[in-house]
Subunit: 324 residues, 2 copies
Amino acid sequence: MRKLEELQSLIASSVAELKFPEQPADLYEPIRYILALGGKRMRPALLLMACDLFGGDVEAALPPALAIEVFHNFTLMHDDIMDNAPKRRGKTTVHEKWNSSVAILSGDVMLIEGYKLMMQVPDDKLRTVLDIFNTTAAGVCEGQQWDMTFETSTNISIEEYISMIRLKTAVVLGGALKIGALIGNADMQDAELLCSFGEYLGIAFQLQDDILDVYGNPEKFGKQVGGDILSNKKTYLLIKALELVKGTDAEELGRWITFATFDPAEKVAAVTQIYNSVNIRQHAETEMQAYAEKAFTALDNINLPEESKQYLRNFADGLLVREY
Amino acid sequence: MRKLEELQSLIASSVAELKFPEQPADLYEPIRYILALGGKRMRPALLLMACDLFGGDVEAALPPALAIEVFHNFTLMHDDIMDNAPKRRGKTTVHEKWNSSVAILSGDVMLIEGYKLMMQVPDDKLRTVLDIFNTTAAGVCEGQQWDMTFETSTNISIEEYISMIRLKTAVVLGGALKIGALIGNADMQDAELLCSFGEYLGIAFQLQDDILDVYGNPEKFGKQVGGDILSNKKTYLLIKALELVKGTDAEELGRWITFATFDPAEKVAAVTQIYNSVNIRQHAETEMQAYAEKAFTALDNINLPEESKQYLRNFADGLLVREY
């Protein structure tokens, strides 16, 4: 079994070698630009990993893995327009460096380039692989739309939130693993179990991200602690708190959400205290653990040697145990 | 052979029956909205026509024909954002009725829905059909980018202009005909000849559109005469005129292009007079006729009964002889 780091660096060098037309420059240069911003290349590496675990040829899985990475960066290019984001990985976003029209159209052609790469699989796998890709891609768009809809909604349930993060974040992990497994000649049942493993793990990972935003060690987490609190982001923590807090705490939480101006440190401290009063961290960790368990249960049922399963368990543990 | 009108109405009723998910509403409702705005459904009708001419099953060609229509409307939804267009077929555009983010994301999922429909072809045709669709789709994006790039360019050549309108307008006609022909079991050579017929016809049609903008009968053309002149649109007429006019006429044309304020009727009259001084209409008609001839030559070489070729000639004549 190849190490994850080895697969990630194989992806990194293959992304760097991807060829797109030179002209029109404003269509294809932004694609080269966003792909060169780097990143952990986790999604395509998972696709290769799945293929490798089932004894498949990792080289044959490279084009669909690159398809997943190109697709992921297409979603980033369009999300950045929608979010009005000025920076991505410390560099100017495409719509800021060029303009929104360029970012829309480059993104469109990236999605098409993703399909071209995804089609580089054997004929007997083509329809199955593309069906998975279609479902995954539409799911990611649905997740992004729910995320935008939730920004202006009240009374989002935990169930709706989990459904949103599943679509927005987790289905692409599951889809990448499923496609990789099938290219590695796994049978459909094992491919679907591995897909479930990826989806549940993705949900657990996102819940962990919600927890780390408030309770993480800022030096290790790498983001501003309390960022979600400051922007009133409807994370698991806020949704659960709104469900649980009563009386004056409920009123106070409601006030903090509506304040247009505030002292950032004060808001983070106050909301965290309200979270603590109803044990939000514990609720979130229990929920995260429940999804991790679902992932491990799916994994247990896959028809793979124990050694391979242990590899995947270690991968999941590494992903979920980021230091607080 | 089925009449074009019959195929268009088959498409119209099938578009009306297309099913998309109900939720998230802001993702799928704009798709239903833009598809309900109507239109001549010419592109998908051409796909059905090609299938029918080669003796194929028109019903089997319906899903890919719908794919072409969904794809075309995806490009309209995104183009309207880029063009800041308030109206489309007399109705509010999607980005105005909802917002830009909704129009970006709905368009994205429309492209994916287009792929889903295009995949509803037999296994033995899947890869070929999708390859054509990929090339067509990327070509349309390239054409749109060139069109935007030309807005701020000077010294565009006629060759560059033809290349742009080929990509932006003509390749989707060619692609639709090619896919339809292959689904009708045409051999690749005939499918490619029919594709060329469609591309050349598309270029001729766009050149005619440029001519009609200045020399058309406003009642029959259905658009404001001189609209391209007023917006300094780099049509065949303007590009050719900039190439041909000399001396004071060249200076005057240059001035009209730079004026920020002007009397519209005066500008249209003055620029038209400059066009007339170098016989622009005749140049454009000669060019248009040359592409029509290329279309007819491709058609002559297709292995189809004379009756079918005559059907296609009549179709082309009907398209190109719009009254002036």
